[in-house]
């Protein structure tokens, strides 16, 4: 099951850094105001450093015959319900939550997907408003309150096209392509087989997938995500698998990026109720696409109206 991979890309919310000059230290609480030192024993040794930039996985010794990449990928599919159960799934809809603890925001997230590769994601975060992302099989797009509407560039589209296929794990197990076994690793404290995955559509990008040695379930991934701000190394931790109508899905996905975390949870899953209209391009994206198609060199009409006032000369947020 690949829905976790679809949402593994860090949303811009995770990068919504608080570039706010709250106050410089001295101005907020002058050092001179600090109370006089109290007599006390020497402090305990400093806590050991955690190195956020270091990988959260490490190869561990293994003697014996390693399974093939295809074996590991197949075991994963069997662990999440098997090929037969997944072959009947053509559409997917889930509702859940998203949290960015580093920014202190927590909201809701709704996902719809349809074979082979269409997807629509809506996130509502207090203080940030609604962010929408989608891929209709041709055009990848985002509308977020921070950057406005945008059509994804080719580099971003590679990730989206790959992640939009919610049955990719099934297809990967059937046709592993360039997948290769890289060894036994400790990932988040659990022994996992590392399979490096690269399909033809991945434009040369390799994803490192970690499969639990005992359960066969996908435990996480290491990859480079392409965002509008550039490529970022990302670690994804996947867990809390639950049964939804005969197949298992992870209900908790933690994306670690730049030392911060983005946590997504799944509360409900449905396998129907998804229609073509769910993947139609929003009007803003159609305008961008059409404008780009015709060059838009002369398309600069005087827009003198806002929805609230047909001909304003001033306005405010009040």
């Amino acid at each position: 099951m690949n829905t976790h991979r679809r949402i593994a890309r860090p949303s811009l919310a995770a990068l919504a850094l608080a570039c706010t000059a709250l106050a410089h230290g001295q101005a907020t609480a002058p050092a001179g105001n600090a109370p006089a030192p109290a007599p006390a024993p020497a402090p305990a040794p400093a806590p050991a450093a955690k190195a956020p930039a270091a990988p959260t996985f490490k190869e561990v010794p293994f003697e014996g015959t390693k399974p093939s990449a295809k074996d590991v990928l197949t075991k994963h599919v069997e662990a999440i319900g098997g090929f037969a159960a997944w072959d009947t799934r053509k559409a997917f809809a889930s509702k859940g939550g998203i949290e960015v603890p580093a920014v202190g925001i927590k909201g809701t997230m709704e996902t719809k997907a349809m074979c082979p590769d269409r997807v629509s994601v809506v996130m509502d975060l207090p203080g940030m408003g609604q962010t929408r992302t989608g891929f209709d099989g041709t055009t990848g797009w985002t509308i977020d309150p921070m950057r406005g509407p945008a059509i994804m560039k080719p580099a971003e589209l590679v990730d989206v096209k790959r992640d939009a296929n919610f049955r990719r794990d099934i297809e990967l197990a059937k046709d592993p392509g360039k997948a290769e076994m890289a060894g036994l690793f400790s990932f988040e404290g659990h022994p996992c087989w590392l399979v490096k995955v690269q399909q033809q559509s991945d434009a040369g990008r390799v994803t490192s997938n970690f499969y639990d040695k005992e359960t066969g379930l996908l435990s996480g991934m290491s990859m480079t995500a392409v965002t509008p701000m550039g490529a970022i190394p990302v670690i994804v931790v996947i867990g809390d698998y639950k049964d939804f109508g005969g197949v298992k899905l992870p209900t908790r996905t933690t994306t670690k990026v730049m030392g911060q975390e983005q946590v997504m949870t799944v509360d409900t899953v449905a396998w129907d109720g998804v229609a073509d209209k769910d993947f139609e391009l929003p009007a803003e994206i159609k305008a961008l696409r059409d404008g780009a198609a015709k060059g838009a060199k002369d398309a600069n009409p005087a827009i003198d109206a806002s929805p609230a006032d047909p001909s304003p000369s001033r306005g405010s947020t009040r």
Binding site: L17, T20, Q26, A46, P228, L288, S306
Partner: protein
């Protein structure tokens, strides 16, 4: 003209809230040994959380050469012994001040937890000590003060009124731009201010802002010296900040306002713009509630001969918003600068805005853009202004910005407070840092009191004159014009 006075309110609103946060109540009876141990343990855990967070997430593992272990050895005992949260915060801020960088501060838990427009909660769930309740909204008088270096006297400053909000208590008290304020409640101004030309500028701005705020209903005596007139005392009231407030994550509830308009005929005539259509957009903080209004303003101002963006007193906000707003003025995706953390480099790439709020295709605005800044312009505002200046896409007017521009995140501490800490350095595409140096206006010179008395708003006046001097560009749909310089003073 709408004032930057209240705009500047946001500049230091957070800082003021922090500074004004009352200390925890003194215990009526000595705490039991068990309670004292609990407080001591909580204090230690809080200090350790701050200390290790800096050690592990600061983009520079060397912390600029600071002996961070020595800081811990020195301050952890004081943190453990802190009698209340206020004392603990003072110790934490002492440690963070050693970094000599912006975006390292402690937000009291009661402020971070307060919802929009609501009093702060009390106590916080994570705190073992009761916290006082307080209303997050402050009062302000509607004047903007700025400390201007006194010519010929090192480290001496004149407090000068640089703007007065129409209809505000300050205006009703007879205060106007250019007036010098020599004392408030008999206490002389301009003494013992942080000297220096780095982050001290922002600290002085915060002090100036604090003087214009007080609890709503307060009245204070200002001694003012109008140009060419005798000094006199005036009574200045402080009124409740009635602007809309909004909240983002762990940051306190903050006033959030955007206003936009066309300059009227009187202003255009006064500042030499004749029949030029000039738009003015001012917003006091980079939070989501201003994003849509900005788009709407651009839809209306798209045919203007020039646009002025007033970022004076704007302390920043959500960094990613700079990419969306800048996209209104960049025809192609353009790099405003880069943030560099320990493990990644991200670019603030603009998103050219090619669709209106009505869903119609448009081109990003190509006419002249002027940005007004001052020492209260910080962080995202500096990323935006500095980036557009580097791209030759805007000309900067006013006074040098705060030099407080570091991408930061928040962490909730064991005592319920919130730790805002920078995780990345920020550089313009040419490698120049904004931190400490700030954005220098293209017309860098110090305004005099007479400039304020004559023009009311000399920075805006200069910007409008510059726009009027630019060649006409029909529909502003062509290539963007060179409107600035990449030259930066050493």
């Amino acid at each position: 003209m709408k004032r930057p006075a209240a705009a500047f309110a946001a500049t230091c609103a957070i800082g003021l809230l922090l500074a004004a946060s009352p200390p925890g109540p003194a215990p009526a009876v000595p705490p039991s040994p068990a309670a004292a141990d609990a407080v001591r343990a909580r204090n230690a855990a809080t200090f350790e959380a701050v200390w290790t967070t800096v050690r592990d997430t600061h983009w520079d593992p060397t912390l600029g050469g600071i002996d961070w272990t020595a800081v811990r050895t020195e301050l952890l005992p004081r943190a453990e012994a802190a009698a209340d949260d206020a004392a603990l915060r003072a110790v934490l801020m002492d440690a963070l001040a050693r970094l000599k960088q912006s975006h390292f501060t402690i937000i009291p838990g009661e402020l971070a937890a307060a919802a929009e427009d609501e009093p702060a909660r009390t106590p916080t769930a994570a705190s073992t000590a009761p916290r006082p309740s307080r209303v997050a909204r402050a009062g302000h008088c509607g004047a903007t003060l700025s400390f201007m270096a006194r010519t010929g006297t090192p480290d001496a400053w004149d407090a000068v009124v640089t703007a007065v909000e129409p209809g505000s208590p300050a205006e009703k008290a007879g205060i106007s731009p250019g007036v010098r304020v020599t004392s408030i409640e008999g206490k002389p101004l301009g003494e013992r201010l942080p000297a220096g030309d780095g982050l001290e500028r922002y600290e002085r701005a915060m002090v100036a802002y604090a003087l214009t705020t007080a609890d709503p209903g307060t009245t204070r005596t200002w001694r003012i010296e109008p140009l060419g007139a005798e000094a006199r005392d005036v009574q200045v009231a402080y009124a409740t900040d009635e602007r809309p407030h909004s909240k983002f994550g762990s940051l306190p509830s903050l006033p959030t306002e955007l206003t936009w308009r066309h300059l009227d005929e009187t202003e255009r005539t006064r500042w030499g713009a004749g029949n030029h259509e000039v738009g003015l957009i001012r917003f006091n903080i980079w939070l989501i509630p201003v994003a849509r209004p900005f788009d709407l303003a651009m839809d209306t101002l798209r045919t203007a001969d020039g646009i002025v963006l007033d970022l004076r007193g704007n302390p920043g906000g959500i960094g990613a918003m700079a990419m969306g707003i800048a996209g209104h003025f960049t025809p192609e995706a353009s790099d405003l600068g880069e943030m560099r953390s320990r493990d990644a480099v991200l670019h603030f790439n603009t998103n050219p805005r090619r669709v209106s709020t009505a869903g119609e295709p448009v081109e990003p605005y190509a006419g002249p853009v002027a940005i007004l800044v001052d020492e209260g312009t910080a962080s995202t505002s500096e990323i935006f202004a500095g980036g557009l200046q580097y791209l030759h896409r805007a000309r900067i007017f006013g006074t040098r910005t705060a030099g407080a521009a570091l991408p930061a995140v928040t962490t909730v501490l064991p005592n319920g407070d919130v730790f805002l800490h920078a995780i990345a350095d920020y550089r313009l595409p040419d490698g120049n840092a904004l931190e400490a140096s700030g954005v220098r206006p293209d017309n860098h010179h110090q305004y005099a009191r007479a400039d304020y008395a004559r023009d009311g708003d000399p920075a805006l006046a200069e910007a409008v004159r510059w726009i009027a001097a630019q060649p006409a560009s029909p529909a502003h749909a062509g290539p963007h014009r060179d409107a600035g310089t990449t030259k930066r003073e050493p």
